[in-house]
């Protein structure tokens, strides 16, 4: 950061930062601010059809007030979708981040072998598109081609239908956990690496075991990056779209409104009711912000209490 030299600057410098920021600002206005504003505007409007809805004057857009919002909040499809995604998120976020933390701690411990290979292998799913990941796992869930069913069959064990009922949640969660663990592991591992080695020395002198060091020193010290990964995981989970959409052709249990975002898509392009879709999208955005920032505040308050003790 400079700034201290501002007083001596020639006149031409003043406009420079604005010029550098011009492309980003224009793109932001066109592709972020304008669409958001437009979506909010649409969410307060509706189409009124008079008569049979034929002719040019028969359909007109009118002000709807909060009607779209009350409709959305009482829409059982949207609420069911929200519950499904909450259940899904309650599996994905803890399991994914738990595994990410575990792997990061293991990578960071002493005398571990094969770390370059295992680290790369666990990170690899990050490079694979969600659609392709869902497709690969989808095939692994299909009894005809899956190695799991082959093994279960040979062992004479029961073969559950992974694409229906309760197991469907696990099947979908598994795809997200598989895809996201490596990335979060790297974030946590990186912040583990930035802890100076001297910090552990005192604990070692006191005879602390590696487990105690991990629980009492390492985890508290990487708490900020855990909070960050949690925050982004909540946002990503609530917006799940491509994985269930990809699994849909393989099973009848994934409806076109399985997740709230799929419902928005369905209403906007399936039914052509952009006004309802806009209101739903606004509610989802608001719920996402409330949940993710609520979490952030709770985490901050907790860390302040810890510090005060």
């Amino acid at each position: 950061m400079t700034g201290t030299t501002a007083r001596r600057r020639p006149y031409g410098v003043k406009g420079a930062p604005y010029a550098f920021l011009l492309p980003a600002t224009v793109l932001f206005l066109l592709f972020f601010a304008l669409p958001i504003g437009y979506a909010v505007w649409l969410s307060f409007r509706k189409v009124e059809v008079s008569g049979l809805g034929l002719g040019s004057g028969a359909r007109k857009e009118v002000w709807a007030g909060l009607e779209n919002y009350t409709d959305a909040l009482t829409d059982s499809e949207l609420l069911d979708g929200a519950l499904r995604v909450l259940g899904y998120g309650c599996i994905v976020v803890p399991v994914m981040l738990g595994l990410a933390l575990l792997f990061a701690l293991m990578l960071d411990s002493e005398k571990v072998r094969f770390t370059p290979v295992t680290r790369l292998a666990i990170f690899l799913p990050y490079a694979i598109p969600g659609v392709v990941a869902a497709l690969l796992w989808g095939f692994l869930y299909l009894p005809d081609v899956s190695p799991f069913y082959f093994v279960l069959d040979r062992l004479g064990l029961p073969q559950p239908d992974l694409l229906d009922g309760g197991p469907l949640y696990l099947a979908l969660s598994n795809i997200a956990v598989w895809g996201g663990t490596g990335f979060n592991m790297i974030v946590i591992y990186t912040s583990l690496q930035s802890i100076p080695a001297e910090v552990y020395e005192a604990a070692k002198l006191d005879g602390a075991t590696p487990l105690q060091i991990a629980l009492r020193i390492k985890i508290p010290m990487v708490a900020p990056s855990l909070v960050l990964t949690f925050f982004f995981s909540i946002i990503a989970t609530l917006q799940v779209f491509s994985e269930p959409t990809t699994l849909k052709p393989l099973t009848n249990s994934v409806s076109t409104t399985w997740s709230p975002l799929m419902k928005v898509y369905q209403d906007a392009f399936g039914k052509g009711d952009i006004h309802a879709a806009a209101a739903q999208a606004a509610i989802i955005a608001l719920a996402t912000l409330v949940l993710s920032f609520g979490f952030l505040r709770a985490a901050n308050r907790r860390s302040k209490q810890e510090a005060a003790r």
Binding site: F28, K111, A121, A133, Q193, Q239, P249
Partner: protein
Amino acid sequence: MSSLAVRKARPAAGTTPGTAQGPPLRRRVALLPTLTLLLGAVYCLLPVAWVVIAATKSGRELFSTFTFLPGTGFADNVSDLSAYRDGVYWQWMGNSALYAGLGALLSTVVSAFSGYALATYRFRGRETLFNVLLAGVLMPPVILAVPQYLLLAEADLTDSYLSVLLPQILSPYGVYLARIYAAAAVPADVVEAGRMDGASEWRIFTRIALPMMVPGMVTVFLFQFVAVWNNFLLPYIMLSDDEKFPITLGLHTLLEQGANTPALYTLVITGAFLAVLPLVALFLVVQRFWSLDLLSGAVKS
């Protein structure tokens, strides 16, 4: 700047003066962590290994032979896939390369401009502008994508290459990374020295600052490349002409058609295998240059 291949020198155990030398056992491999990581690696590689092997099987072998037994039909599968609808598969691959390559390049340029300005100048509205740009990262893609579609429809731009390319150029995350990186990599006195020599602001940026920012910008480029290549929602909403589909959307439609006709399974599987190759190859080649510690904002200045 450490990368994926980051390594930290720790004093070897047992060398600390004053501690008792551990028993010989302590020099051995730590079994539990090593096994845990190997299990994790197997879990992550399993679907990839499966698709590699399944892509070699002919339609008949796919259902009759053991899953992890290689088949004999890889060449046939690839030629079948290439023949599918006059080679539309390769068109999808080319489209993805275009969207991700060009999109990531433009995105990196915009991020570099913005990050440099935010890091090296002090001006009115700097933090406000930065926070507003960052807030974009929190917006659910669908609340953006649906109205983006409607607005682009007004401009008659939907179902075009531009409709997928343009909305992905500005990456709030890229701007954030570029700012952190520029603040760490471009020393204030170097910029000031350039000014003393009478260089224009533009010249200082292109000749002095930009070369210093290259490693960070490689990271921004790669992140954005992966993000655009993997994006599904935006092209799903914007496009209807399958000649313009990226590979993610193409595979999705292929699966939709193939789900009820097991004869098409081999096409989908081979297509998935080939679609994974470019990104995995990219990763293996460039993973040494990735400065992933940027992610946690841990830049040592």
